[in-house]
Symmetry: D2
Subunit: 450 residues, 4 copies
């Protein structure tokens, strides 16, 4: 190959991050080759020593990467031969780069999924902590970014807990699809050596094998599935960050972010910009992009391995890094953000927020829901016109709309009571939220004992 072309086709600049996983896979392969007498015990010891030295070099940062060898696999093999002589060339017996790289990617992503799951667990814990800490704060619940009904702040935050919980379930699904050992598929058809794939799987902690060698070297669907998991997860986080950005506007003023998570401006020294939240919202783009990128690569690709598949890595690595690196700042930002109780109290002291309860009250007094709905609508239109608050109307004024409104309806106009009335399971009353919190904690424990 032309050196310029080699540059174009080389994967070393990005697949070098697979080095240690590649060595782990090679050690498993080596061990199996020896136990099946495909290579001798002497060779095994020799090669094992070489591989272990290389692992130390990689860990120490002293491994001499050589761009004239196109990928990490060739770099390691070449280094091995430098260390142990031509017998290093025996390691690749009964193996092809196609199944080797497939194995490396499985090992790599399995590790990263676990770390991401830890980050998600921590974020869930932070949210639970916020909910527990602020259990008495009310805020407006919004639909269409219009105040709709008062809710507990804890309830609002816990909505995100459950999204993350489903994200973790999806991640567990990804891990199931990762849990298939590809080595032994060779280039595409298996091998004529009498290998023991079960042994390799056991050595590496896989519980299942690919049952078809062509599938084993062509399968990238677990990578797409991971990217889809990541896209959904970051979508959830983009929603949370959007709220944080809106809440930290002067106009909302619901929260104050800790200085560690905001920046000033080069020209406007008074600003406290929610950079972290904005950046996480923005990072949604690159993850969606990587998802569609890999789907595009795979579209219409005939079996088995094609060079296009080399393009499975950079978008995936970027997504792994992005997700892994945004979780700690997000957790930190949430854990340190301060709610402005006064502003939130003012915001819920908006008696239109109680319209639903007034309608429900009329239903209990015999109205159909539709009548009740209309009646309350007229009452509110009247208040708007008069520029009155609902609580300022006299019983007589209220009675014009419906006789039952002449009674004492104070409870309907008190946001705390309105919240406390929503005792339905999953509702926003304190008791319901306490039950929800218990379920959330149980879910966290269940993950940890798995």
């Amino acid at each position: 190959m032309d050196p310029a072309v080699l540059d174009f086709t080389a994967s070393l600049p990005f697949d070098r991050r697979l080095g240690l996983h590649d060595l782990k896979g090679s050690l498993a392969h080596l061990s199996m080759l020896a136990s099946r007498s495909i290579i001798g015990a002497d060779d095994e010891a020799l090669l094992r020593g070489g591989l272990e030295e290389i692992a130390e070099e990689i860990t120490a940062g002293s491994f001499p990467y050589d761009l004239s060898f196109e990928d990490i696999h060739m770099n390691i093999e070449k280094r091995l031969i430098e260390k142990v002589g031509p017998d290093g060339g025996r390691l690749h017996t009964a193996r092809s780069r196609n199944d080797q790289v497939a194995l490396d990617m499985h090992l790599y992503l399995r590790d990263e999924c676990k770390r991401i799951d830890e980050g998600l667990q921590h974020l869930q814990e932070v949210i639970v902590g916020m909910a527990e800490k602020h259990e008495d704060i009310l805020m407006p619940g919004y639909t269409h970014l219009q105040r709709a009904q008062p809710v507990l702040l804890a309830h609002h935050m816990l909505a995100y807990f459950w999204m993350l919980e489903r994200d973790r379930q999806r991640l567990a699904g990804v891990l199931e699809r990762i849990d298939l050992m590809p080595l032994g598929a060779g280039a595409l058809a298996g091998t004529s050596f009498d290998i023991d794939r079960e042994q390799v799987a056991a050595y590496l902690g896989f519980s299942r094998l690919y049952e078809n060698s062509i599938d084993a070297v062509s399968d990238r669907d677990y990578l797409v599935e991971f990217l889809a998991f990541a896209a959904i997860a970051v979508m959830h986080l983009s929603r949370l960050c959007e709220e944080i950005i809106i809440w930290s506007s002067v106009e909302f003023g619901f929260i104050e972010l800790d200085d560690s998570y905001t920046s000033g401006s080069s020209m406007m020294p008074q600003k406290k910009n929610p950079d972290v939240a904005e950046l996480i919202r923005g990072k949604t783009g690159r993850i969606y992009g990587s998802l569609i990128g890999l789907l595009t690569v795979l579209k219409g690709l005939p079996l088995a391995y094609n060079k296009d598949l080399q393009e499975d890595k950079e978008g995936l690595f970027d997504t792994v890094d992005t997700l892994k690196n945004l979780l700690p700042p997000l957790s930190g930002m949430l854990g340190t953000m301060v709610f402005c109780r006064e502003r939130l109290a003012e915001a819920v002291d908006d008696d239109y927020l109680c319209a639903t309860d007034m309608a429900d009250y009329l239903v209990r007094r015999g109205c159909t829901f539709r009548e009740a709905h209309q009646t309350v609508g007229q009452l509110i239109a009247f208040c708007r016109q008069k520029n009155n608050r609902l609580k300022e109307l006299t019983p007589d004024q209220r009675a014009c709309f419906h006789p039952a409104l002449a009674e004492n309806i104070e409870a309907l106009l008190d946001p705390v009571k309105v919240v406390e009335a929503r005792l339905s399971r999953g509702g926003t009353a304190s008791a319901a939220v306490a039950e929800q919190l218990q379920k959330a904690r149980a879910a966290l424990s269940a993950h940890m004992t798995k």
Copy 2:
């Protein structure tokens, strides 16, 4: 609202397909309202009668859809009131359109997932059938669309079986995320009526509830997850269709498609165009598009319900229809396609396909893999230069490259023997494929007994 604006915001043209699911959900809600005495038994009977009549009208195609009522929910409520009088307005007690539409979508997609799963099962069966029927046919296995090693046709086809198997596992994951009952969340905060969400869930066959009312009305992640499943599945099918298109070219000539699945040309009467395969490959685009479409809608959306969420439907419906409708023609096309044994036999009679085995042979004779690889490379270069086939070389000529090649190496040059040597688990030898087929059949049975 302005009528033109109403047109713009109306969802009836597409959400009318939810009619029967909406009624099913309403019947469950009604039953619960009555059992909790939120409405009386008389009203229950009255409303149930009305709802059942409406279901008949929808089924019969006689339901009078009215575009001046923006969505299917309002259409049904209006019709109910027409039928039973103002008491029809009681049905919406303790419910909001937000949780109602969430329930409808869960019910709808649950049904459709099951149908799609059946279509996938059928496709898997067709593939197994093809594998069983053609177990003696060899074909070249390809990498980079270059012939690489001979494989059993059955082995090649079964690669797709396992992709579909993982697709079905993913679909089962989607069904788990669908299995959450949202009703009772109200607009976003729950309800002050003393409802029984567990009863509704049991009535409708859900095993779990949303534990947070805000999450219940905002969650669309199960829809994205479905779209991601569909994108991966159609990606797999696009790969299969690409192969079918290539195989049915005159140059490959590996298969002949049944006339029912091809078209002629308006200008070139001799053509047999693989339209079905091309169209399925092309339909990958719309499914990827719908996936990215919904992800875009959800990006950065604050809680809880926003009108943007109405855009969750058309792309989903289109994906459901697309996937459901392409499976039968695909199964039909595969089931009727004829393999051209002669062309396949010619194609595997290419002794370069045996290079790997020759290298492996040298490894068994003591070479390292790298030496063996080089030796075979030189041998093949020699043949190319001389325009000889490998089997035409004399033992002496072969010996020039390595002494072990002087021996009888016929077995290495016979594609059948080469195939049969790949006995490693998941490999292409007949025995290994037979074992694979058994596992495939077991997987199918496992799905059916679930």
Copy 3:
């Protein structure tokens, strides 16, 4: 073909919208065939009569679409033969469905681009109108959704004018790429009839021809370019709608939307939901989706026509409709929305908004920008700590931070003066905005005289 397969492959359900454009193209083709004596004058008259009758049927809605003929082209040909007898079969002389459908799509999209351009022009006019009407209103300019500097409302709105202006430039680029006449390319290689493609082009108002017949039938890049234009345009509109949604929150309260463009809630009668703005923001998803959808279809497709290309239509049609239909409600909503002067006045009465000007003042007094920046930062930190407004500080207090601050700095703290100081071209001072408005009007006129 199997009828179920015919259903799967048929395009009539969506390509019927091309009927009139197909007829227009056929009339041009017919006229050319006659003028080159490829068909006789009698036949021309006969066929022309038939085609014109069909056009009337389509316009009147009485055309008998027949699903057993797969597409609109076959439907029209069949109808023509019904009307004029077997000579109807002469129309397809020197033509193929491949170049015919390419022509139809060019004609269709050319018309739709013009309508969309009119809609964009109208929207720009509405924005200019808003800017002219509200030229004295100030509002906070935001970065990071934090108030940054006061600006004229007119200036803020005009930012969207220029985005739309670039969108229209891009649309003009699309029209240039559409302005290539494909007919005469035949199935892919041209035709042996002595046709006159220039005549057809002139008849239909095209200024250029495809110079390569294979390209003519394979090219779909003008469709992708249109979708990319649409994606960028709707992205701009999604930004505007996001602002409208935020501004119409109670917390911002900057605007009140007209009731015609908002909806109430089934459960919360007090709500005025900005449905139109939300829905437009949401429609971004489907347009992005259609863009990626068509890009996916085209990826890796060999020349020339492939059935996959049939998938070029539905996403395009949907995007045309979406964009065309959202512009009038958007223009209407903007044109009727009312700005709440009081709330905006309160919002700019925030002396931190003047920090930049104070820093600039210090620069004029000899500070480097960085020193000035730090000094103002300290001053503001001091005010925050003391809970003072800047204007409440005494000259002596100010002098502690920098001697120049002891002078009369009232002008720096008056938002109107701060705005008026930004006289740089493109800046927010009234005079600069007036100049900008003039340029905007000139741009509008330039479009209209084109």
Copy 4:
């Protein structure tokens, strides 16, 4: 900021590539500041000297990047102050990072667009060269990957010329949208300094200014437009590469790629894998991904600058690099690839390829196109059944299908004559292709004189 958060939000690792463009912009700004006496002549000289030294450091690779300063702009300012003292802080007068980074991106992308345009020009020249060199070679033209009609190889290749020509037109459109100078917009509202934006624009070679300061700092649509251009261009290239991959299969055997552009296999030494073509096809994914990524970032973002916008860079840079780097190997591969004349000659010696011409012949003899089409269809079906070639039929046999077929129809069965008959403009006859080549060369010249 917390150091971990600083890491998360820092852009230095990727925006350092903007260093020289940043300096160029700063020199223009500095020159203007001096000419308007906003800074003194001494300061100008001092700062200019510092900036020039920094440019040398960056060029030489000796610039001391400091990750504790978050971006390239702060790094350069800090270095300037190190070099020239606190007066370095004067450079930022009348400027903000928002308009500064906007300027840098305009300058950067303008340069890169020009380089990409050169790469596209070179690729077009290679294609023209191939067409000229092989003007006598015929090949089958394909639809549905089925042989359809014989065409000149030159004609087929030139189809790509015109796609690239449109790509370059689109790129010219991007350059028009880039040709807007943003500096002077400040953070978002303009500046109170008496700057001269026209001077800066002239200095830097821009012909127009942003007329609205908010738009100037928020606009990223030129980046999206570039990504859309790139997506369409790489889509075209993916089609070409797909063909190259198919053509270099053993089954097609139409071309032989030069060894410099292929790779062998670690396990199958005989393989010549079209790695370059596959990798280019695969790189389509990342470009589509970056397009959707940036569109996602921008969706629903309120004005003006938000931190999300920092995510505009990496996908763009990657796309610039990808496109720039794939053009030379692609040109090289095309320029060195060898066509296998024998295989191509065999492939066009397929008399079904002449069916269209036979139908056209019958039309000339009075048949309607539809009759002719049917007649030829029956003739071909007859040959298939008899396993005869068309040329083997006797005149009498042919006459059974239509009397006109009894005549000498040799010319209809000779692929060369069939090709030469397609003289319609843009058709595949030699004369038409010669004219096309002339137009192609004219287009190339037109680009060069621009």
